[in-house]
Symmetry: C2
Subunit: 349 residues, 2 copies
DNA sequence: ACATATTTTGTGAACGCTCTCAATTGACTT
DNA sequence: AAGTCAATTGAGAGCGTTCACAAAATATGT
């Protein structure tokens, strides 16, 4: 099992009869290379199957061609059983990898604990050894002020997904308020007058916006906030089940439920089944996430589809641009989609 | 935004009053370092916050501290809507990242097209630039003989997940035949005599094993194969719906369905709902995958839980061992779990 | 105490690239 | 035709490690 000799830039240079540096210019699309020479070099690159060694590139130059994605351990598969995990990761990955691939960048994933004490050392280690050109922060890490400040101090371009605040960052998000307005109107138009909202964590930016928009939309329709019960305060299935039990046991229970994420929407489906309520006839349900599996639920959930993959893709694209010395910082709002499936209907009577 | 000076091995050496090489020995846990010196160096590493630069390590030494995970584009989020995607990726990632983290390795993900023509060039590019210490192949790439041969020729240690064949590889899998025997017996014991199997692709190793074990288990129970209809032949929702329609329209339709993956099990739930069949009273359903979301289905699916994360974790561990010059090649069978939830019951009558 | 084996430490080279800057070539003026 | 300036090419240094040694320090045996 002898390893085939790896072809280096020198090999290509020799084969093409030019210097190392000229080959470097060609593979980096640099200016000031005669078309004929460029072509000759490219032919040799192709023929010898030359691929630049990333480590050497990093050593010599300033770029690492690496984007680091920081993911929260609590939101992974590990915590599915406790109801905390989700499959956001899947989509984020997809969005990031696709974009990186396009530019011959690579995405390295890091699993980071939510615990504030260990977050920064963990990231410091990853950043220190990898020296990525950019870091992508996903919830809840993008809201970790201490971490964000640390990264800014390191001078590493940083993108936050699902975050709104300014600063010298790439911020990518969707119009949560608009989405909530649309969803609420949908239910209002159907004739619902008592709508429950299974809200996400109070300290989670997008959830705050949705909560606010929900209240406003109800007020605008002349429904006092008391009639729009807001419950939960996290993203977990079990908690949502409890909250729902209470909501539905009230004197005039909601005829529709908006869940801040899929798992809580599933909880609504479960509780409805337990109580003999038919969805959507007796209870309408809308989710605010739409992870891929949702379309296979019984019945298929109506939901706001978050542009998760697109957001991470955009974040990558901006970071890559930045690493090339182009402009990139700023805030970017990506469009969501309202997917009406089979869990909303006019209320009975 | 001035980047903080990065501390190098020389800085640590100077601070500890030793040479570069001694520091290198300490951080690599090398032998022949006086305990007092080791301690002094370690203190300095800590104090200066030194982290070895991965690229430099790769340049100097033989290891890259990188494990490359090859993932099939068709099985990602991108293809959920067509019913091909799954959230395997989530679990694989988790398993791999956790293991890498343990050893201060990093996992780089690559999204590869299934199309045979482009697979190898794509992987060649990634392998060439990253020079990973090992490559993890997941289905369907682990069954791509041409690719496997190419990787073997490159001399890069390679792990296959969900693969059985020998060769100079790390192979990690579960006991698919045993799992199928257990599942079938469960249904048989419940009193089912007509069981349908929504099989996976014919060219997918684990599916072949399950198919074989299913036939044998039925035969052993004195049920001729005709009574255990086998359908589908891929992993998609829509196809499974069609096959089920046919199965259930037969003169003596199955009272239980075994699905080769979750999506096809969901299809069974859907078709049952459409036909007014109650699960599990009128139809029992078992899945052969158990991705995390399954526990939230209505009703929660009984399923074989594949040790997906553990398999990838094991694959990583072996590759890392190998990169350290330890033994690592071989075949490893990991235990599955049979999770009985709410979709199996004795047949009516 | 001396030679010899062993452990511990240090030195120079190498890895493959990009950077900076100098040298060459070619085109355009006058 | 010489002079000027821009476009194109090349040479040398350096990035931060580990490797293969050589050197120094210590331990062991007689």
């Amino acid at each position: 099992m002898h390893k085939p000799a790896k072809v280096t830039i020198e090999d290509v240079a020799a084969a093409a009869g030019v210097s190392r540096q000229t080959v470097s210019r060609v593979i980096n699309n640099g200016p000031n290379v005669k078309p004929a020479v460029r072509q000759r070099v490219e032919a040799m690159v192709e023929q010898l199957g030359y691929v630049p060694n990333l480590s050497a590139r990093r050593m010599g130059g300033a770029r690492s061609y690496l984007i680091l994605s920081i993911n929260d351990r609590a939101r992974t598969f590990e915590n599915w059983t406790s109801g905390r995990g989700n499959d956001w990761v899947d989509q984020m990955l997809y969005g990031g990898m696709s974009e990186c691939e396009r530019h011959n960048y690579h995405m390295v994933l890091e699993l980071i604990d939510t615990d504030a004490g260990t977050t920064i050392p963990q990231i410091a280690r990853a950043v220190g050894s990898l020296r990525p050109d950019g870091v992508i922060l996903t919830p809840p890490h993008c809201d970790n002020l201490e971490l964000v400040a640390w990264l800014e101090r390191q001078g590493i371009p940083c993108a936050r997904v699902g975050h709104y605040e300014g600063g010298n960052f790439v911020d990518v998000y969707m119009d949560d308020e608009g989405a909530m307005r649309e969803v609420t109107r949908h239910l209002l138009d159907l004739g619902h007058r008592s709508i429950g909202f299974l809200a996400g964590p109070l300290n989670y930016g997008p959830s705050q916006k949705r909560r606010k928009a929900f209240r406003e939309a109800l007020a605008k329709a002349g429904i006092p906030p008391e009639d729009g019960p807001i419950g939960a305060g996290n993203f977990y299935f079990d908690m949502a089940v409890n909250v729902l039990e209470t909501m539905l046991a009230a004197p005039s229970p909601p005829t529709a439920i908006i869940a801040d994420n899929d798992k809580m929407a599933f909880a609504a489906l479960h509780v409805a089944a337990d109580r003999g309520l038919k969805v959507p006839d007796d209870l309408s349900v809308i989710s605010f996430e739409d992870t891929p599996g949702v379309r296979f639920s019984v019945p298929p959930l109506t939901a706001i589809r978050q542009p998760t993959a697109a957001m991470v893709g955009k974040a990558c694209a901006q970071l890559i641009a930045l690493s090339k010395g182009e402009e990139g910082m700023g805030a970017f709002e990506l469009p969501y989609e309202f997917v009406v499936r089979a869990t909303t209907k006019a209320p009975r009577g």
